[in-house]
């Protein structure tokens, strides 16, 4: 930062001295017809120019490094904070606000790093030029020192309407891009069923609207641009006139006349930098306040969690409220009359909401540290996200051992046995989830890079990959919420057949209303009104509980 400011000062000052050096060349060398002086001062001009170039790039280097360091630090902190807030994040703050930190806010904060170095240079060079001017000719010095800020003040008011219209254009541009993206995203629908002329027309209307907004900006910009020609120009003309009058009466030299002309033209730059720095610091302050506010949030469940830690138990999960009692290592299917009830119960059992009355191996969930609870009980629902990146990593996820052992090139320091073992577990999980065909169809198999949120996979494929991931996590208690709702009957039958065997000895609950799934469960619990209303084998319940039959066979009437 200090280094950046130093180069910023050198950069600005070397430019500030340029008019003086040129003036000197003319006075001491050219007018005096002194060849040696001409050589000397031309060399000074050249060196000053090279110094400007050098200091400019070194300043830029420091600015970029500082900018990036601060931006990266902000992104890192935000990512850590997001993982700390975890499941409670959406309820605490809009995700858009968090993402904005990673984009707009970081660049606001980062840009202060750039502008502050130039700001330092600007202040020093303005002071320097003032001293130089006042020491040579007080009248012109004062004119320049009063005139330049005055001009800045005159141009200033023009900037506001321009910024306003520019942001108007940006907003319109954003909307238009949104419209085009909307067309592209729904193109299959449009091309399949029609409606293209309406969409083309609507796009054209918006595009023309943007066009005229753009022309309006050009109108303001053109006034500003010409004001930036006129005002500093008039000022330079004024200074030149004063200086020329003085030169005629031999109060100043010809070289000084040229130098004054140069100073007047130069001073506009540092003064503009100073106004720019002010605006940026204000914006950065707003951004930093937003970042700090997000970073100050904490996980409410983690705060209230107890400390009865246990690495591994038998997996007996009991819920007093619903009357659900899961024996260690059992495989249970829960059919809920209302899908919302199933989700609510799963969230209770996993403590994503208040979990009073739920115990794991006799210990209330609320008395356990959240971290160890999450390791032991996994709720796998259809809102779970797939992440972009290498597929094998995404599947292995937290199971670092398996992750390191899967696929090519990732096995540094992992023995061949461990690798084979990891590979075997992945293959087994994919088999259980009937997801092998997905991997086979991919060009690079498990090494394929998954696109953002797994969008390149169809709904059914995503669901099977999520199931494989949950199986690989191999928790003590696994709660699956409608794990096969988006796959076809054939595939579902396969998954249903394999699931119980794959989870043998581990407590597993499947929330489902699919007969294919329910038929394979050793025990089915029918959930109605938030309570376990009946339990038994699927076929018994079909025959004896009419409400259950209505739920799973989707009878009408």
């Amino acid at each position: 930062m200090t280094l950046g400011a130093f180069w910023g000062v050198v950069w600005m000052v070397s430019q500030a001295l340029m008019p003086a050096a040129i003036g000197k060349t003319i006075d001491a060398g050219v007018t005096a017809k002194d060849t040696a002086e001409i050589w000397r001062w031309s060399a000074v001009v050249l060196l000053l120019g090279c110094l400007t170039g050098l200091a400019g790039i070194l300043r830029h280097r420091c600015a970029v490094t500082n900018w990036l360091t601060s931006a990266y630090r902000t992104v890192q902190l935000t990512a850590r904070q997001a993982t700390d807030l975890g499941a409670t994040l959406p309820s605490r703050i809009a995700t858009g606000d968090v993402v904005a930190i990673g984009t707009a806010d970081t660049s606001s904060i980062g840009s202060t790093m750039d502008v502050s170095a130039r700001f330092a240079g600007a202040v020093v060079s303005v002071v320097l030029v003032s001293v130089l001017l006042l020491s040579t000719e007080v009248r012109i010095g004062l004119t320049v020192l009063i005139g330049v800020p005055l001009i800045m003040a005159l141009v200033g008011p023009l900037l506001k309407p321009m910024h306003r219209r520019q942001s108007e254009v940006r907003a319109l541009q954003g909307k238009l891009t949104g419209r085009a993206n909307d067309i592209v995203a729904g193109l299959r629908v449009l091309r399949g069923i029609g409606g293209e002329p309406e969409f083309a027309e609507r796009y054209r209307e918006q595009s023309q609207e943007l066009r005229f907004a753009g022309v309006r900006v050009a109108r303001v910009e053109s006034v500003l641009e010409s004001a930036q020609v006129l005002l500093p120009g008039l000022f330079v003309v004024g200074v030149t006139w004063l200086a020329a009058r003085l030169a005629v009466s031999h109060d100043i030299t010809t070289g000084q006349l040229v130098a004054f002309y140069g100073y007047a033209a130069f001073l506009v730059v540092p003064l503009r930098t100073i106004t720019e720095a002010w605006g940026r610091l204000l914006r950065a302050h707003v951004a930093a306040t937003k970042v700090v506010r997000v970073l100050a949030l904490s996980h409410p469940l983690a705060e209230t969690a107890g400390s009865q830690e246990r690495a591994e138990g038998s997996g007996a999960l009991v819920d007093e409220h619903s009357g659900l009692n899961l024996k260690p290592g059992s495989f249970t299917a829960v059919a809920a009359a209302d899908p919302a009830e199933a989700i609510e119960l799963a969230d209770r059992l996993g403590r994503y909401r208040a979990a009073e009355g739920v115990t794991l191996d006799g210990v209330p969930l609320e008395a356990m540290p959240l971290g160890s609870l999450r390791r032991r009980v996994l709720v796998a629902d259809n809102d779970a996200r797939l992440f972009s990146g290498r597929l094998a990593d995404g599947l292995a996820g937290a199971g670092a051992g398996a992750g390191a052992g899967v696929g090519a090139g990732a096995a540094v320091g992992v023995g061949a046995d461990a690798r084979a073992d990891g590979m075997g577990r992945v293959t087994a999980a994919l088999h259980t989830a009937a997801a092998e065909d997905i991997i086979e169809a991919l060009p690079d198999g498990l090494d394929t890079t998954v696109s953002e949120r797994g969008r390149s996979f169809s709904g059914g494929q995503q669901q099977r990959l999520r199931l494989a991931r949950a199986l690989l996590a191999d928790p003590e208690v696994l709660l699956l919420v409608e794990p096969t709702s988006a796959v076809d009957a054939h595939t579902e039958a396969r998954i249903a057949e394999r699931l119980a065997a794959a989870r043998a000895g581990r407590t597993t609950v499947v929330f489902t209303t699919s007969p294919l799934m329910l038929d394979r469960a050793e025990r089915v619990v029918f959930l109605a009104g938030g309570r376990a209303a009946a339990e038994g084998r699927h076929r018994e319940l079909l025959a004896t509980v009419p409400a259950y039959r209505a739920t799973v066979t989707r009878e009408e009437d």
């Binding site: 017809k33 060849t35 001009v45 090279c50 170039g53 280097r61 970029v64 990036l68 990266y72 890192q76 993982t83 993402v99 990673g102 541009q173 085009a180 909307d182 067309i183 995203a185 193109l187 299959r188 091309r191 399949g192 293209e196 309406e198 083309a200 054209r204 023309q208 066009r211 753009g214 050009a218 109108r219 641009e225 020609v229 120009g233 003309v237 030149t240 009058r245 010809t254 996994l378 809102d383 779970a384 992440f387 996820g397 937290a398 992750g403 390149s456 996979f457 169809s458 709702s485 988006a486 076809d488 009957a489 054939h490 396969r494 209303t513 699919s514 038929d519 076929r539 025959a543 066979t553």
Partner: protein, 596 residues
């Protein structure tokens, strides 16, 4: 994109216009808007000329001062400088405005043509290319081009005009005055070429890495619950750190490029100034030039570096803009995929004969499918994922032609029907549930913009969607999609089906069109839909077995062929794969099986 077909085939990239095509286009634009372009360039030239009088007049002022002159003469010359300044101001204003109008016009035309081209893309290309490529064209490329057209092109244009005119002004001061400028041409040319070879790619990589970083942050934020559930905290944090590392590497690369390019260029800028002072000074000593000439030349040299710097600084942006232009123009270069033979279908029966299909030559996914559908029949297709159901569905909807064999409606191959006719015959609805930004009504009336409110209501009610649609804050006029009210995937699927009802083709292909709807609601929906579609031919790729149960015939697709075909009862009686599935669905011998 359903099932594995399109993924297995790999994405087909859309074409990019070649350099001559881009140049041809630029030429057309220049000719079509010749008057505007001439006006813009002319005004800029005039402004530049007005700006060139300053140093020259200052030079003569200095000559005057040196040789002793009157205050009156100083006033006259300074007055002249002021006059030219005012001319320059006024002309700059109009030049800028003309450039703005010209640029915005070209830009609007270009993006509108692009979107029109997108909307005309052949069906098979739309199905196969994936939306990623097209999305990056419609968003990033349009933005890049806007940037180049709004600022890059005018700035460069002004810079070129100003540079040329300034060189002229220098030559007018003295032909020798141009010489110092020539000295810097070789070093700048060398370093500029070096930079331009690397910079555009470097900056593109830089912004792509930046997007990666923010995207994965967004993923972490969006999937925070999943991160917590699976204990992925360290993995996601590691991912962010890795993204940052890669972004930093890209930044460092471009920084290195600038560290070579800019100091070299900037040192070159000052060289002619110093040389002019030196040589001019020496020349003055020898009496070859006046002091005024030396001053004017020095000031011109300082002044010309601004536009030269502009040209160099914008060159990489222009190159990026040019690449974006090529990608936008490329969309228009996609060849049409269907050729209408002009034949009219005779009847509504559909017949598939020995249909084969491969996405990649040599990797056949359908191995000879025969299927006849009589008008008004309802066929359910079941089978494991990856068996080829969706591919067959797309072929039956006329989206692709089969690799071998034929699919015809009323005797005319589907791919020989013009698109407008095809839509009247067959329509496909799949799992994809895109909701367009617009009102509920606008989302439904796609196939028939002229539909009345009553028709829209009927269509919505046929898919059980009228109740919730009317309960929205502004009923059918409620804005939904990207900027509006968010619909659930199930509601989106209902809208897709409502569109189909309104389109009213005689044959419908439903590819898991109700898969996202709650199973209980789905059955009710399918039955009410069936009532509306009475008399229509329906091919339903079934997700749930009750769909198959309710159909006239069931086709079991396995490994790219139809393994079993017949009514539900027939197939259950045969005791094949379908019967097994059905039994496990209902439980062997359970009384419930008969009640459904």
């Amino acid at each position: 994109m359903t099932e594995s077909g399109p993924q297995a085939s790999g994405r087909q990239a859309l074409p990019v216009a070649t350099y001559p095509e881009v140049r041809l286009y630029a030429g057309q634009v220049a000719r079509a808007r010749g008057r505007d372009l001439t006006l813009t360039v002319g005004l800029f030239a005039l402004a530049a000329v007005a700006g060139l009088f300053g140093p020259r007049l200052l030079g003569s002022l200095i000559d005057g001062v040196q040789h002793g002159t009157t205050a009156g003469h100083v006033d006259t010359i300074v007055g002249l400088i002021a006059l030219f300044l005012i001319v320059q101001t006024v002309v700059t204003r109009y030049a800028k405005l003309a450039a703005g109008k010209f640029g915005e016009g070209v830009l609007a035309e270009l993006r509108e043509n692009f979107v029109a081209g997108v909307l005309e893309l052949p069906l098979s290309v739309v199905e196969r290319a994936g939306s990623g490529d097209l999305l990056s064209r419609s968003s990033r490329d349009v933005d890049m081009l806007s940037m180049a057209a709004r600022y890059g092109v005018p700035t460069t244009l002004v810079a070129i005009v100003t540079t040329l005119l300034t060189v002229g002004a220098l030559a007018l001061v003295s032909p020798w005055a141009v010489l110092p400028l020539l000295v810097i041409v070789p070093p700048i040319a060398v370093v500029f070429r070096w930079y331009m070879k690397r910079a555009p790619e470097g900056y593109l990589a830089e912004s792509a890495r930046y997007a990666d970083m923010t995207d994965s942050l967004a993923e972490t934020v969006d999937g925070a619950r999943t991160v917590e559930a699976l204990g992925l905290q360290r993995y996601r944090i590691g991912r962010t750190d890795e993204d940052i590392r890669r972004q930093f590497a890209a930044e460092r690369y471009t920084l290195r490029l600038r560290c070579v390019f800019w100091p070299t260029a900037e040192s070159c800028y000052i060289l002619p100034v110093a040389l002019t002072l030196l040589l001019g000074g020496l020349g003055y000593v020898h009496g070859w030039f006046t002091l005024g000439q030396v001053t004017a030349a020095t000031l011109y040299m300082q002044q010309i570096m601004g536009p030269i710097d502009d040209m160099l600084a914008w060159a990489d942006q222009l190159q990026v803009g040019g690449a974006s232009l090529a990608r936008l123009l490329g969309v228009a270069g996609v060849p049409a995929d269907r050729e209408a033979s002009g034949e009219q279908p005779d009847g509504e029966d559909m017949r598939a004969r020995d249909v084969r299909y491969s996405y990649i030559p040599g990797r056949e996914v359908l191995h000879g499918v025969d299927l006849s559908l009589t008008a008004g029949e309802r066929l359910a297709m079941v089978g494991p994922s990856g068996a080829g159901k969706s591919t067959l569905g797309r072929l039956l909807a006329g989206i692709h032609g089969p690799t071998a064999g034929s699919i015809a409606v009323g005797g005319v191959p589907l791919v020989e029907l013009p698109l407008a006719d095809l839509r009247g015959q067959v329509a496909l609805v799949n799992q994809e549930h895109h909701v367009f930004a617009g009102t509920v009504r606008e989302n439904v009336v796609l196939p028939r913009p002229e539909a009345t409110d009553a028709q829209v209501r009927d269509a919505l009610s046929a898919v059980d969607a009228l109740t919730w649609a009317e309960a929205l804050p502004e009923g059918l006029q409620t804005a939904i999609g990207a900027d509006g009210h968010t619909l659930s995937p199930a509601q989106a699927q209902q809208l897709a089906l409502a569109r189909l009802v309104l389109a009213d083709p005689h044959t419908l292909v439903l590819d898991e069109a109700t898969s996202l709807i709650d199973p209980r609601a789905a059955r009710h929906l399918e039955r009410s839909l069936a009532a509306v579609l009475e008399g229509r031919t329906v091919i339903a790729i079934a997700h749930r077995l009750h769909t198959a149960h309710d159909a006239d015939r069931v086709a079991v697709v396995e490994d790219g062929v139809i393994a079993e075909l017949g009514s539900h009862e027939e197939l259950v009686a045969t005791g094949g794969a379908y019967a097994d599935l059905w039994e496990s669905w209902h439980g062997r011998g359970a009384a419930a099986a008969e009640q459904v």
